[in-house]
Each structure stands twice: as structure tokens, then as C-alpha cells.
């Protein structure tokens, strides 16, 4: 009964992160992340794919549903939004302000929560399970706390049903010992794992269509935040110093000549690991 469903508005949070295929660095006096060689965090592609699948199952953009890609960060961060638009998001938002540099999880959450509030009537905030740079997984939970919304994290499947004029979400989560079914009303903050789907690639049509899509640039003032609340100034944590880990010294490599299992055990015995 697609015609009776209300329009869905989904915000997908996307992050511009250093490409893990290259060596990644901390730089500057404050040991912040060096963002040259950055890409759309591959874990966010799963969130975007989940958003697109949810709306495509209900008639997509033609039925009034919308997926907005949201990022924050310096000028280059807009590339994460552009990639999301090529993949299929309908419009984009870039919170851009030099004062955001060096934001920790709390500052990032504060800024993103303010963007979500600014967008208004968002039904679903979708994120990846972690950023591939900070890797803390703190932001989805902090966003939910700040927005006063239910959180459903690490979803490996998602379903939506219209119910009593609102939306109800059912998700599956897997942990070591249990598989859980979790239910929540919308609006909610949801993070998804890389088990949930197979993200699509941008195709030529998508790349051309993206050029016509709107990216709204917002400043801190637009979303009602002061520079002192974000970035290094507003961070609740600080990195005092950073040391690159010494490279692992080359170990012993042997070729099996019929006794490698025994030589392996000799090595373990030498290392007192038996």
C-alpha cells in the first residue's frame, strides 16, 4: 500500500577519511589526522546502500522519499558527499568550517546533531559502524544521546513498516553469543555493519546525474554552534604525543620440506609459548 505511506527522509552521514591502502599519518602540533589522500569511508557505503534500498523498495524519489548525504570537515570533505551523490543520494550537505579541524568524537557528534536538527523532520539517521580513521564507534551513540533518539547500532539487516501513521524499524544484530532482533520507532539513529548489503558502484549515469544535484554548504553559524564548541577548542580529549610504531623486524621464513610443523613448534617452544 505504497500510496498511503508517508515520505521518508533519510540522512546518511558520510566521512572523508585517509585511504587505508596507504600509510596514514598524524601531523601538526596537535597530532591530528592528515587528510591528504582521503576517500569516502568505505564503511559509510554500506549505510548509503541501506538507505537507497529502503526507499527504492517504496517507490524511491518518485514517491517523495529522499536520501541526503551529510558530511562535515574542510573543503576536501565535500568529495565524500560528491561520491555519495554519484552513488545515488539525492542531495548533499557539507558543514564546512576551519574551526571544525581536530574535533574529537564529542565535537563531531555535537556538530552532526546540530546539522540533523537544522535539516528538520529527518526520519532516520544512518551511519557506518565506525569511521575507518578514528575507529572508535562513539559517534552514533553520542548522536543518539544528544538528539534524544533511540539508537540501533551494528545492524546487519533493516526493515521498515508503516504503523499507526509512523514508521517502525526492525533490525538484526549479531554479537558473540546472541543474535538479537531489535525494534524501534522512528526517528532513530542507526549504524550498519558491512554484513548488511553489497554496496553498488557509481555508474556513468549516476556520475552525470550527480552534477545536477544540490550540495548545501552550511557554516557553524547556520546551525547555531559556536566555534568554541567544536574542533580542538571544544574537544574533551587531547592527544599529547604520537609515535609511529617501529616496523616489525623481518622474521624467519622457511619453506616446508616435510618438517615445517615440527620447526614451527620448536619456534613456539623457544618463545615460551607452549
Amino acid at each position: 500500500m505504497a500510496e498511503t505511506e508517508s515520505a521518508l527522509k533519510i540522512a546518511v552521514l558520510v566521512k572523508h577519511v585517509p585511504d587505508a591502502q596507504f600509510d596514514r599519518h598524524l601531523s601538526g602540533d596537535n597530532n591530528t589526522t592528515d587528510r591528504s589522500e582521503s576517500i569516502l569511508s568505505e564503511l559509510d557505503e554500506y549505510a548509503l546502500e541501506a538507505a537507497l534500498q529502503l526507499i527504492e523498495a517504496r517507490g524511491g524519489e518518485a514517491a517523495g522519499h529522499r536520501v541526503t548525504a551529510v558530511t562535515m570537515g574542510p573543503a576536501g570533505a565535500v568529495n565524500a558527499v560528491k561520491k555519495a551523490l554519484q552513488i545515488g543520494a539525492h542531495d548533499g550537505v557539507h558543514l564546512s568550517d576551519e574551526a571544525l579541524a581536530g574535533s574529537d568524537a564529542s565535537g563531531t557528534s555535537k556538530a552532526l546533531a546540530a546539522v540533523v536538527r537544522h535539516l528538520g523532520d529527518v526520519d532516520l539517521v544512518l551511519t557506518g559502524m565506525a569511521s575507518t580513521d578514528g575507529e572508535t564507534s562513539l559517534v552514533p551513540a553520542q548522536l543518539a544521546e544528544m538528539l534524544g533518539l533511540p539508537q540501533v547500532t551494528f545492524a546487519s539487516s533493516l526493515e521498515l513498516q508503516q504503523e499507526d501513521g509512523g514508521w517502525r524499524l526492525t533490525a538484526r544484530r549479531e554479537s558473540d553469543h546472541v543474535a538479537e532482533t531489535v525494534e524501534s520507532a522512528l526517528p532513530a539513529v542507526v549504524s550498519v555493519t558491512d554484513q548488511i548489503n553489497e554496496p553498488r558502484y557509481p555508474n556513468f549515469k549516476g556520475i552525470m546525474a550527480a552534477k545536477k544535484k544540490t550540495i548545501t554548504t552550511l557554516s557553524l553559524a547556520d546551525i547555531g554552534l559556536d566555534a568554541s564548541e567544536v574542533g580542538l577548542a571544544g574537544a574533551w580529549t587531547r592527544v599529547n604525543d604520537a609515535q609511529p610504531r617501529p616496523p616489525r623486524s623481518q622474521g624467519v621464513i622457511i619453506t616446508d620440506e616435510g618438517d615445517a610443523g615440527i620447526r614451527l613448534v620448536d619456534f613456539l617452544a623457544e618463545q615460551k609459548l607452549l
Binding site: A141, Q151, T170, H177, V182, W236, R245, V252, L268
Partner: protein, 315 residues
Amino acid sequence: MATVLVYLDNPGASLHKTDRELLTLAGTLGEPSVALIGELDSAVAAELGAYGVQTVFQPSDSGLADLLVAGKAAFLAAAAEAANAGALLLGNTFEAKEIAARAGVRLESGVITDAVAIAPDFTVTKSVFAGSYTVNAVVTTGRPIITVKSNSIEVADPTEAGTPEVREIDVPAPTAAARITGRSEKTASGRPSLDEARIVVAGGRGVDGDFSPVEDLADALGGAVGASRAATDAGWIDHSAQIGQTGKTVSPQLYVSAGISGAIQQKAGMQTAKVIVAVNKDPDAPVFEIADFGVVGDLATVLPQATEEIRKRKG
């Protein structure tokens, strides 16, 4: 001395090794107290007393144990205020990190995850970018909230005798929370859990559907079984065994990698292991770049031979 509040989630009838690690660490940093969800078993209470725990905070509403993160975080924040805690310590599971995250918002306090050491001034040592940097970080605002990786602390023998005082805290149930409506337990393997294991033996696509050589070696070594994503995606082993960027991060004393190429996302989960042993048919497999001991060979013969040799030597 400041109170250091340790969060324990449903310890059941006895403390877990990670709980003991947190209590040991808390004892070196200040006076340990505990915020505990779930029933307080008398044996657990006695053990907490032996770790010098003065007070155990519990939610007055036992239903909180079944709630998702929002309720647990609200309880922890309330306990931190009641204890006037100087710092909060939690384990490093995904859920514990989220509880820390939300309690951090409630307490306007900074959160640092993945700690491997904490100095007396609460400077935290952790590694970032999949182990390529070691950083020292501090919480600059509020009560430091720190999640600690397992196996980072040598568990101390509890010495003090004493029974902690139990204090119940009223926590209003959060209005906006998701609800768990179904739950199915997975069968336990009887092996140590990946989070706690000193030894991990992991298999990849090279096991070609048969994990038994990996499992047998793990059992001979008393270790846990892990896997690459290729192996979990193929359905050869449960997804919870996955090691790596989107699986578990482990730092065991010994990591045995068998039939795993060593892609960057796999390395992200294991390269801080003390000793890395790799068995792979391909001499150019990237895993050999980080192996302390590598065997170019077929895991289907090398692993069983090693297992048999270990059994022989152990008698």
C-alpha cells in the same frame, strides 16, 4: 584518593578475566568502586571486596539489564555522580564503548577508547591507525571515561578482605530507546573467547571449507579460533570469529595466521599481537611481511604436524 568507578555488565556467578583486569587497574589509580548491572552474586561481592571495592552501585530497577545502551549509560552516569568518581573504567567491547560514549555526553566528559595503559595522572596509552601509531591522550573535560583493551593489564591477586556496601540508584527508564524483541543464543564452543585469549589461531580462504586443522591446533595450544572475512563470508565459521577492521581486534601473545593473505583490513585486527606465525602457500603473501615466523607451505599438512608435535611434547 579519587574514586575510580568500574562498570561491570552482568558478571553472573564469577568475575570475568577482563573484569579482574579493570579492578586491578582501578586499584593502581585510586579507590575502586563498581557500577554493576545484573544480579550481584555473593561470591562476586566477596571477590570485589578482595579487590578493595568500597561500594557497589546497582540500579533499583532490575529491568535495566535488558535495555539497550541508553538505559545502561543513564545508570552509569548516575552512579558516577553518586560516587563522585574521579574516573570511569569500562571494557572495550562495542557495547561498553557505546555506554561510555553516552555516559560521556550525560557527564560532559571526554571518552578515550582502546586504552592499553593508564598512568597515575590518567594519561592513556593507545594505538591508532591499526597499530601504526602509539599515542598518549588525555581527557581535558569532565571525569575521564576510559575503555580498556583486554589483556593489557596483568591481573593482581586480590588481597584485601572486606564486603562492599551496596547502594541502589534510581534511574528513570529512558523514553526513547530501542527494544530487544527477540534473542537466540549461539552455541558455545567451549574454547576461550577471542577477546580474552592469549593465543589465537585463525584460518582464511586457504582452509577451503575445512576448519578442523585450525581448530585442532587451537585446542592443542589452548587458544581461540579466529578467521578472515573471506572465511566468515563463505559461511565456514560464524561471523563472530572474524578478525580485522570490521571484526574483532585482538592483541594476543601469539597469533597463528593460516591460509590468510594478510590484506590491510585483516592486519588491522591482529598486527599488535606479540608474536605472529604465518602459514601460507604463497611466498609473496603480504602476511609474511609482519610474521615473526613464516612457513611457506600447505596448511593442511603443516598444521596437523604441528598439532601432533605439541600433543607429543605436552605428553
